[in-house]
Symmetry: D3
Subunit: 123 residues, 6 copies
């Protein structure tokens, strides 16, 4: 069981594989209001969950993209589409994940996700 | 562009890879009420979307499991967990997908999904 | 502008057209815990909104069925399917509304709604 | 059972009744990213579901407006409000559907829907 | 049981404690489209529910902020954050409520809420 | 910054104030499938978020009840209603929170929450 500084280091390592040195690059308004929130998120989302064994990063990334599309979380979706590209997932694969969202979350969820993706996945 | 009978055949072929001859095995009340609905679903979900190229079945299956968990669609989640096992996805991988749901849809969504999975993923 | 007793009377009149004397028939656990809640609901849902002019009851009923299916509110859906039948809406029409839900809220939402409907819409 | 070209033709015919020659007029970013997605949507949403018998177009349109409002799908809501007007549904009826959304999806859902509608339903 | 004019007066009194004379200050597009909707909302949300005994206004306000954050209702969230400040709830308390949203509705819901709050809770 | 064992201890201390020695008492199927998940949840939900300063436990509890009701997370809602009672929050206060949910998440969300509460809040 690692200490909390380890959680943060481990979380930053994983986040770095998705977004490189740009991780947390563009500052959100929320980061000025609650900077400690983003430290906690790095610790628990990336340090506790993404850093676990038993599932490869590619699959974690695709599943995250799929969930964000289904839930309509458009800002995070854009960030994770970029992360997925950095992991080597192909643009065509991501479009398929978003299209298939129509089956499980409805056509409007898929259209919204594809609209957001169009900004990020430009050829 | 295939004709609609082709869509149905293609959809059944994909669904068969997930659920074998048992596809549509246990009859739902909805199937008696609206049998044609399930034909349409096979045509468009599996024949139009899952049968497309550019994304492997393993990834389609994981993303579907992820979305159903995030959306709280428990009955379909159970069915797709079984389908994922039939495609050779490991039990441990599926548990990771469901655990990670806590980050994007909240802890209760993950707990519900894991409770449902406990019935299906018995070792 | 009517007084609140009028709201209640007006709400009961509309609810009575949906569910007859059986309105509020089967007592929910919530009704023992918070009986005043159900009076308020009758006043504002049926007395304030459903009782308004400009839209016929048939359309209000169909739209309510559609929304409850999309939102996955299964218990209320069953109640409003019964109400719709009492207003003279045909069983086949209701099945179409539920099937079409697949397009806007996803296939699992439609399947859940059709499963619930199968109990209520028995021929 | 029609072939897939028939599905597309049938879907376009229904969509044309909602949006005339302007159907798919303003191009979305998603249409450049995934043009085939929109063909599939026309085939299955309009060709498979809306084109079915047993429910009139007016009711399908009202139920779609109701669901999009409840689910907070604002862009599609605007499109379908326009479609509803083209089918002859009155502005006042649509406002009632959106107001009633407050009962089933909460007041904020109704306010969002009415804000979106204000752009489309100008007298 | 009060008459409906009483409901409106009572609702306005409560809303006034949240937003002062500015209550309903900035006009929404929806207010031009459906002015009577906002009267009904004042009557039932504030006159029927918020005006009830058994729970203090501070708790009602915090719970409303929590729900709007969980549901992603960003415009209403901003309004109720302002209302909470007017009731004397501290900025730091509101940030905690929004941060904790990550546990129950997922991290993206919390980030969206904190981004919205950053506009309102400027120190 | 505490180490992870500290997070767990701190989280257990907070959870103990809600549920006493019964914390995690009734074993869920998910606990057999993914026991480590529940350790992580105790660490991040209670150790990272609930244990933070700036907001009293009573307010955290009420806001959690409010969010779970709005999101329809019925099992967790029951658990947190019990926790709220253990913190000294009165039954009448909890009923008010659940009733008010009708305004923001719709009447069916409130009815479901009140039905669940009726099991837990028996006088």
């Amino acid at each position: 069981m690692a200490d909390e500084a380890d959680l943060l280091a481990r979380g930053r390592e994983v986040a770095g594989r998705l977004w490189g040195t740009r991780a947390g690059g563009q500052e959100l308004p929320a980061q000025r209001l609650a900077p400690e929130f983003f430290r906690l998120v790095t610790e628990f989302v990336f340090g506790m969950f993404w850093a676990r064994p038993n599932l490869d990063l590619r699959s974690r990334s695709l599943c995250t993209v799929a969930q964000l599309a289904a839930l309509g979380r458009i800002d995070e979706l854009k960030g994770h589409l970029l992360g997925a590209l950095n992991l080597g997932i192909r643009r065509e694969e991501l479009v398929e994940v978003l299209m298939q969202t129509a089956c499980y979350a409805g056509v409007p969820a898929a259209v919204n996700a594809l609209n957001a993706a169009a900004e990020v996945l430009k050829p």
